[in-house]
């Protein structure tokens, strides 16, 4: 919504602030406006850029990124990997989940520069030689994608879960994927698909039944 320039907190500052909460909590001046006044400013200041190396879906890359880019921006807008979706852009929904060194992260809440020296896996990296991963195949078989917008994130969260816990119980699946919302609310089918891919027998797909 309409923000006053002096109140503006840049995404980089915000993310760094939350990422190293203790350090910046005492450094409130770091939140001072990037532009104290817009008056008379004719040219946008050149954006700080950093050259990073990272491996995306098995391919080593060197990319110069703007320091303010998030990881999901880098992937979608500059590497062309649009399979990762932005649902909220503020760490609420999980649609942008990717694996960073094998761990699921919200790529909307990671700066691209933080991926320097690290390995990123996205939904585009799940299939091998045109063959779907067992998890992807289970999603197809169990109708785990309705509108499909949360699906990439669900797949990445489940991939990480199964790598960690190859034969999860239904509660382990639900807990492992608690950060991935589905507004089609296809939760039963998603859990069924993950259990099927793991070879675990589906017992019940119920969660807490709406418990607040």
């Amino acid at each position: 919504m309409a923000r006053k320039p002096k109140d503006k907190i840049s995404r980089r500052r915000f993310l760094e602030g939350t990422g190293v909460a203790i350090a910046t909590a005492t450094a409130t001046p770091a939140f001072a406006a990037p532009f104290d006044s817009a008056q008379g400013r004719q040219a946008a200041p050149p954006q700080a850029r950093t050259r990073i190396r990272l491996t995306i879906n098995g391919v080593a890359q060197r990319i110069e990124v703007e320091d303010r880019w998030t990881l999901v921006e880098l992937l979608r807008d500059h590497v062309g990997l649009t399979g990762t979706k932005i649902g909220c852009d503020r760490g609420e929904c999980g649609a942008c989940t990717v694996l960073l060194d094998g761990r699921p992260v919200y790529s909307c809440s990671q700066l691209a520069v933080w991926a320097d020296g690290r390995t990123v896996q996205t939904v585009e990296g799940l299939a091998r030689d045109g063959r779907l991963s067992p998890l992807q195949q289970a999603f197809v078989d169990h109708n785990a994608a309705q509108c499909g917008f949360c699906t990439s994130g669900q797949l990445m969260a489940a991939t990480a879960l199964l790598a960690r816990t190859p034969r999860p119980t239904p509660p382990q699946v639900r807990t492992g994927m608690a950060g991935n919302l589905c507004r089609c609310s296809n939760y039963n089918a998603i859990v069924e698909a993950v259990l099927a891919a793991s070879g675990s027998a589906p017992q019940t797909t119920a969660g807490n039944g709406g418990a607040q």
């Binding site: 919504m1 990997l81 909220c88 992807q136 999603f139 509108c147 797949l155 797909t205 969660g207």
Partner: protein, 721 residues
């Protein structure tokens, strides 16, 4: 009582659980949604929105924003005075062009005064989204802050702040400030005949459609032709509305939607984002991708209208309802986007009923259609009320429902009727007699268990839609349908229906969808109409093509045969409805105030089921949304300053994997001879019953009636205190 047609005969393709034809695209990231589109030279658009619930714009200084390097356009009402016809229409008569013309309380893409926090004021296009966001900060708006009103009942008080100068009662389709009223029989006589009269008040909250894909639109002019890549469940409606709003002939607007991330009623017709993107693209001479943030989507689009419902019910001691009266208030926000109706009285056979509903303007975000637009909130009210009456008369709510539901012979002829069968089957599968407690609140606790139920009938009428079907010399069939597949699996269903009627495997049919330059008219994925109406057109196209093949033989060489149909079927004066009953068991923690659904049985008669896999998941997902509406979702406002407090998934506490219940779905299949192979409504029907069934189960557990949705912890603990 059941009027059952013959049981369904098995078919070859239809009726078999079938994987979606585009499932691989959906699980590999290859499905292209609007924001995944890229065009050469594409700019990014952003919208500036009002921080005030009500304010007059004295002036807007865009000079600093326009001077920012990288900014290509800044538009306001002065430079882009585009009237958004679908944004506010008298009576909420959304598909009526004539009423759009006579509507006086018009909504523009940028408004003055602004009427809610999030109303659009200006927009920018810039070389990237960061520059566009910076530019928004440089637009100086001089607001004169005005008094505001948040509560619909307060808004009708004489001294309330006026959202529109004519007053806060939103006018009907004749531009008259009058409530919506429907009446049958004689309620005065009905109440006179009653042995007991019951009165109560219920309320429901604003819940956002909250589809996962936030609004976006990529607009691209080529000469005088506009192409919009936009998430819409109705490409034909979106095309027509956009053309009208921009003063173009329909054929100069092309709408493309290949994939979209959910709909739930938020994405039929055109939206202001489409028009804003089009104006930015026109002004800059470049394609513009307009993106809304999640918060903008929450506040700038729409959600289910919140309601207040006052009921008066007359009944005899044997449980016969003799009269029903509803006085309701629906909060529409600053604009009349949809009807604001409150459904439910039509569920009951009682011959005397009157409903008076006031659609009211407030300075809250706009209300509009959400999956069964008028149903879950109305059914919650009336079915809570009737549940309460049943207990007070000492009658089992299931028996009370069977006695009082509207049935054949009560002035209505159905194509078939199976509501009684749905209720019986549901009670049996749920084991109602064991789980339901005749004495509410009798579980000793502290975690108290209880059971509740609700029932519904919902429209499944026939109507106009189109399909084109082609066959080439190799025997390859191509079906052109104007669906976009909002998530329900429409593409696959349309392909299955064609394959069935043609007598070929589904793999021999290609489906072309989601592009007005390639597809004929479709009614759009709203009102659960696609399967019935477009599916019926597909059947007719296949029959036409089969006849052509029989007459002329299969095409040879490079020639093709094409069938193009535009049927507008009816139901011979009969009412065609789908039916359902939901049975829910809950645990209520009387110390923490939490509610947990421990069993959920959903029985539906939706005619013949086309694809059991996608149909089941439509019901399961919709039932979860119903639980969310019952227990969680709300858009709270601070009454002191008119600011929304809970916009977004976290604030509105949408269900997660941890919250979801196991939904047990049973379909009773029939073929009443209408629709494609007897198909009826599915998509919306599953959300309608949850709020009432959950609330009734909470009553059975606690012995305290929860009358205001959502049933949150504070309300439960308050009721127990």
């Amino acid at each position: 009582m059941s009027q059952q047609p013959s049981p369904v005969q098995p078919l070859k393709t239809v009726g078999h659980a079938t994987r979606r034809i585009d499932a691989v695209e959906r699980v590999t990231g290859k499905a292209t949604y609007t924001r995944d589109m890229r065009l050469p030279g594409m700019l990014y658009g952003r919208v500036l929105r009002s921080p005030h619930p009500h304010a007059r714009v004295r002036g807007i200084d865009t000079s600093k924003a326009a001077a920012l390097p990288g900014v290509k356009a800044v538009i306001t009402h002065d430079t882009a005075p585009v009237w958004w016809g679908a944004g506010s229409i008298a009576g909420g008569a959304q598909y009526n062009d004539d009423i759009k013309k006579i509507t006086t309380q018009r909504r523009y893409i940028f408004n003055n005064p602004v009427r809610f926090v999030g109303d659009a004021v200006a927009a920018v296009a810039a070389v990237d989204r960061h520059v566009a966001e910076e530019a928004l900060d440089l637009i100086a708006v001089d607001y004169e802050v005005l008094p505001f009103v948040i509560d619909p009942e307060e808004a009708l008080q004489p001294d309330a702040a006026k959202v529109w100068p004519e007053g806060n009662l939103s006018p009907n389709a004749r531009n008259e400030a009058a409530p919506t009223q429907s009446r049958r029989g004689n309620v005065e006589q009905g109440f006179a005949a009653a042995e007991q009269i019951f009165e109560d008040r219920y309320s429901t909250a604003f819940v956002h459609d909250a589809q996962m894909e936030p609004r976006a639109c990529l607009a691209h002019w080529e000469g005088d032709k506009l192409t919009l890549y936009t998430p819409t469940g109705g490409i034909a409606n979106c095309q027509h509305d956009t053309a009208r709003d921009l003063g173009l002939p329909d054929e100069k607007v092309r709408i493309v939607c290949q994939y979209m991330g959910g709909n739930f009623g938020n994405k039929n017709q055109n939206q202001d984002a489409d028009l804003i993107a089009a104006m930015l693209a026109k002004q800059t001479g470049a394609p513009v991708m307009l993106e809304l943030s999640r918060r903008e989507d929450w506040l700038g689009m729409h959600g289910r209208w919140h309601t207040v419902q006052y009921y008066k019910v007359g009944a005899k001691k044997d449980g016969t309802v003799t009269a029903i009266e509803l006085r309701g208030y629906s909060g529409m926000g600053g604009y009349r986007k949809n009807s604001g109706a409150i459904s439910g009285l039509e569920l009951y056979g009682c011959p005397n009923a009157v409903s008076t509903v006031y659609p009211v303007y407030t300075n809250r975000t706009t209300s509009g259609n959400f999956r069964g637009p008028s149903d879950p909130q109305g059914f919650f009210g009336i079915e809570s009320m009737m549940d309460d009456v049943a207990y007070k008369l000492g009658i089992d709510p299931v028996e009370f429902a069977m006695k009082n539901m509207r049935q054949p012979g009560q002035g209505v002829t159905f194509t078939n009727f199976s509501l009684d069968e749905c209720i019986r089957r549901g009670a049996e599968l749920f084991d109602w007699k064991t789980r339901w407690r005749p004495v509410p609140g009798s579980d000793r606790g502290p975690v108290k268990r209880g059971a509740g139920m609700s029932f519904m009938q919902f429209r499944a009428g026939a109507g106009r839609s189109s399909a084109v079907l082609r066959v080439d010399a190799k025997g390859r069939y191509t079906l052109f349908v104007g669906v976009t597949d909002v998530g329900g699996g429409a593409k696959t269903t349309m392909g299955m229906i064609a394959a069935e009627e043609l007598g070929v495997p589904l793999s021999q049919v290609d489906v072309v969808w989601g592009d007005t330059d390639r597809c004929p008219y479709s009614v759009g994925e709203s009102g659960s109409r696609t399967t019935i109406m477009t599916g019926y057109a597909v059947v007719q196209a296949a029959r036409d093509l089969k006849k052509q093949i029989a007459d002329k033989g299969m095409p040879t060489g490079s020639s093709v045969l094409v069938a193009s149909v535009d049927p507008n079927p009816g139901t011979d004066g009969k009412v065609r409805n789908c039916f359902g009953a939901h049975f829910v068991e809950v645990d209520v923690d009387t110390q923490l105030g939490t509610v947990r659904v421990t069993k959920y049985v959903a029985v539906h008669e939706s005619g013949r089921i086309m694809n059991p896999q996608t149909a089941k998941d439509q019901i399961r997902g919709a039932a979860q949304q119903g639980i969310g509406q019952a227990l969680h979702e709300d858009l709270l406002y601070d009454k002191r300053n008119g600011q929304p407090l809970t916009a977004g998934y976290y604030g509105a506490r949408h269900l997660t994997h941890l919250d979801a219940a196991a939904i047990e779905v049973t379909f009773i299949e029939v073929d009443d001879g209408y629709g494609p192979f007897g198909a009826k409504t599915v998509g919306e029907s599953g959300i309608i019953l949850g709020p009432a069934a959950v609330a009734n189960a909470v009553f059975n557990a606690l012995g305290k009636r929860m009358k205001d949705l959502p049933i949150t912890r504070d309300k439960i603990l308050g009721a127990l205190a």
